[in-house]
Amino acid sequence: MKVRDRKTLRVIATFLLALPVTLLANEDLSINGFLSVGASKSDADAVYYEGIADEVSFEPDTVVGVQFSAPVTEMVSFTTQLLASGNKDTYDLAADWAYADFSVGDSASIRAGRVKLPVFMASEYLEVGAAYPWVRPPEEVYSVVPVSAFSGVSAHYTGNFGNFDFSIEPYYGSHTEDIPQPTGVLSSTVRGFTGASLTLGNDVFTLRAGGLQGQLTIPEVGLDDEELSLFSVGARIDWENVLILSEYASRDIPGIVADSEGWYAMLGYRAGKFLPHVTVAQLDTDEVTPLAQKQKSTTVGVQYQLDYSTLLKVEWKNIELQEGSAGLFSTLPSDDKISIFSASVDLTF
């Protein structure tokens, strides 16, 4: 899941060495952090998405991050987010994003560096457990684009008509990532990464749509500069005590990598400090490839607000594998109905 791009990391490291000098001289520096400690356990004899297995494991859902943001001049600011994730064998610290933000007037800005990929509703705060009600956003949709940041430029324009606010975010860049698969590691490169995301909303309702395309190369499976395309749409209704979230994503890649389509719908209700929620989700891929991922799931969970900045979450997810596929498991489990229990403490500081 986490992104590795050595060249970019080197550039970022250089940036980071220069950063303290800028920051120490700046009293407008803002520091924000988040911490999620999560544990999960499944009853399957195979490893699920991000390493969830039949023994209690803290690694998949444990992450700590610190974000530094400082104005450099009146118009330019610098932001970086350092992330240590239990997702790797070691809690290695990496700059998940680091970019310079150039303001163009009050309503537009351009970012350059390592920027977040704004494809889904929660893409830009995927690691921040305190920003959504689940222990982790539904993987039936979020696994469709397993990339959270890329190297390039993005622009951001916001405006409003009447009671509606909108924003437009076009972006361009490239991305390199090693994708671990049961069959071995695939080294993927996407060039000419071009896309845009559009958000429209008011106080209660938010609609987001996005699309991107690029040229994908994965030498291990014989993909050479093949066109890949993605489309996503999501809606959020936050009315009084009712919270509804729903997203759809589809991915189109030629060759052996499966085309896939995922969606989920969540209904939640805020009852004082409790937010119970139920989510149904489905992931479907085309049948022709050995990597087909087909599963349905129902998740029931509750979020409890322990104090102003701390959330406790528990959830139970019941997965039904479809048509003999292994779904998001790395190997085929012996039972096609699997339960996963997860709990987390999420805080921001």
Binding site: S30, N32, F34, G65, Q67, S69, T79, Q81, W97, Y99, D101, D106, R111, K116, P118, A122, E124, Y125, E127, V128, A130, A131, H156, N160, D165, D203, D238, R270, G272, K273, Q305, D307, Y308, S309, T348
Partner: protein, 145 residues
């Protein structure tokens, strides 16, 4: 007198337990610098405190300030003026901040007295205090119920 004591004891207990938040008797007012001539409704105030508007209706830059979490005026302000509970607002800012879109969020100042003194000396500032704290060092821009 006795009922007042009982009431504050109950309120104290409620906040300590942190289970329910009562609407308070004393109202919360939105204040600005004495030189601020903006006329604002609750919608415009909500937009400023949610970082969706960066200016007062007249075009002057707005710099919102918050009281510390747990203050009664803060709870009151978000429920009655902004129309969203604090938990909702916190989740909203978590999303904005870590998406790198946290610009324009209110600066946290402290209690009502600290907010009043800050607003009285910062022409762009907009804050909220309990109506009992109002004096002529600040201007009341909006009053909740």
């Amino acid at each position: 007198m006795k009922t007042m004591k009982l009431k504050s004891l109950l309120l104290g207990l409620t906040f300590t337990l942190g289970l329910i938040t009562f609407p308070l008797q004393a109202g919360v007012v939105v204040i600005g610098h004495v030189s601020n001539n903006a006329s604002l409704d609750s919608k415009q105030i909500a937009r400023i405190f949610l970082g969706k508007a960066t200016k007062f209706p007249g075009g002057a830059k707005a710099a919102p300030v918050d009281q510390a979490p747990g203050s009664a005026a803060r709870t009151d302000f978000y429920n009655k003026v902004v129309g969203k509970g604090e938990a909702k607002v916190k989740a909203y800012w978590n999303q904005r901040i870590f998406a790198g879109k946290g610009k324009g969020r209110p600066k946290e100042i402290g209690d009502g007295a600290a907010v009043k003194s800050w607003v009285s000396s910062h022409p762009k500032a907009i804050g909220y205090i309990d109506s009992s704290l109002v004096d002529d060092s600040v201007k009341v821009l909006f009053s909740a119920d």
